[in-house]
Amino acid sequence: MGILFEDGNFSLFYHGFLQTIELSAISALFALLLGGVLAAFRVSPVPVLRAFGTGWVMVFRNTPLTLLFFGVVFALPRLDVHLSSFTFAVMALSAYTGAFVCEVLRSGINTVPLGQAEAARSLGMGFGQTLGTIVLPQAARSVLPPMSSIFIALPRNSAVAGAFNVPELFSTQKAFDEKGYPIFVTFFWIALAYLLVSFTVSAVFRVLEKQLAVAR
């Protein structure tokens, strides 16, 4: 069981771990921004924007993540877009996760009584002000539990990037395998590391839930 602490293995493992965290954190940020914009599109009064939001969700939520990685990593270079594997991975993960974030936000927006938005509009607030200062803050609380599911799934989904040249946590398994370590021991440590990430994410969301509960 102690393979992690011999033969410089820890450094390899640790770098994979950091890469997973970095990839997940950056993708989470973009997914949140993208999801926010898409959700605003989906509830906006402009039909073109609504159609764009619906289309995005339909395409990216229904495509297997691996297929999406294939699309980004192999199709974009053909269009003369040459970026690092890491950037490609961020793009695929953000586009995919953003679709889920959008839908969670939209469900949250729908829990806020219509009268709140009507009151804001009747005071002369525009669409953005109404959404940003009245509707979304009230949607936030009901959105947190499903949002935490999404952001627990994200680091685990990021394992797909390992197959596309990103040396993240799961891909360290190959190196350990080549060194001849028993596969179950390797997997034990990797699973433990993912568990650590998931627990941290869910703890953060629990704190957020508590804080927003007080703010009412």
């Binding site: 009507e118 009747s122 002369g124």
Partner: protein, 260 residues
């Protein structure tokens, strides 16, 4: 700045016309013809009360005036300016039209004070300190000054509705729309809200009030409009309307609500 001056002159130029004018307004909800050829002019300082059976279109009519409901045909003008389509222009116009809802619709995540401050700062760009002073003054005036730091859910219905009135007044509106403001209140709280509305009327605020409170209609209205099936069936002074209704629909309606 120039634009400001121009629009000021423009509003001065029409200052003698009606404040609210509806011409040939029609609206359908699917097969239901909720507003049928509505023609209505409301003068400055006038208090118009809309009454009628439920489903007669009175709330819808009230909500078309700040375009919370769109119309199929006809035209609506506020202070001589036609209602623009959704966008910045409409938002600016809505700021001049106060609205009070049946279900209060106070912002649940903001304190009472913040409810009254918010739009002043966000829409009118009033400095925060000044907006707070205005808010406290208005809250005092509607009798809920002591509740300024509470959240709406901690207030009674009557208090919430008075805050909602203060919130609308903070925008210094030209006209106030009341959409059944006392219908969701416990009976003992109806009067505290009506009192505030009465004092507003007495100060010369232009008001459109959809209500089932016949006492208020009698005492505060300049004009009563009776609606049924999407039409304005009868309009008259409150005295004339309540003592001698002309149409059968109005007679029938009044006999039902005044006999108990």
């Amino acid at each position: 700045m120039t634009e400001e001056t121009v629009s000021d002159t423009a509003s001065d130029a029409v200052a003698t016309g009606p404040l609210v004018s509806l011409k040939g307004v029609d609206k359908h909800y699917g097969a239901l013809h909720v507003l049928q050829d509505i023609n209505l002019e409301i003068a400055r300082g006038e208090v118009v009360v809309l009454i009628g059976p439920s489903g007669s279109g009175k709330s819808t009519l009230c909500r078309t005036i700040n375009r919370l409901e769109t119309i199929d045909s006809g035209s609506i003008a506020i202070d001589g300016r036609p209602l623009p389509a959704e966008g910045k222009e409409l938002a600016r116009l809505r700021a001049d039209v106060g609205m009070v809802f049946q279900s209060f619709n106070l912002f649940a995540h903001k304190t009472v004070l913040e409810n009254v401050v918010l739009a002043q700062v966000k829409v009118r760009k009033v400095p925060r300190a000044q907006a707070e002073a205005t808010a406290r003054e208005l809250l005092e005036r509607v009798g809920v000054g002591a509740q300024a730091d509470k959240y709406p859910a901690q207030l009674s219905g009557g208090q919430q509705q008075r805050v909602a009135i203060a919130r609308a007044l903070a925008m210094k509106p030209k006209v106030m729309l009341f959409d059944e403001p006392t219908s969701a209140l416990d009976p003992e709280m109806v009067n505290e809200v009506l009192e505030v509305m009465r004092s507003l009327a007495a100060e010369g605020m232009t008001m459109v009030v959809v209500t089932h409170e016949m006492g208020f209609a009698r005492s505060a209205a300049n004009r009563v409009l009776f609606m049924a099936d999407g039409r304005i069936v009868e309009e008259n002074t409150p005295d004339a309307f309540f003592t001698a209704p002309r149409s059968d629909r109005a007679k029938d309606f009044l006999s039902k609500i005044l006999t108990h």
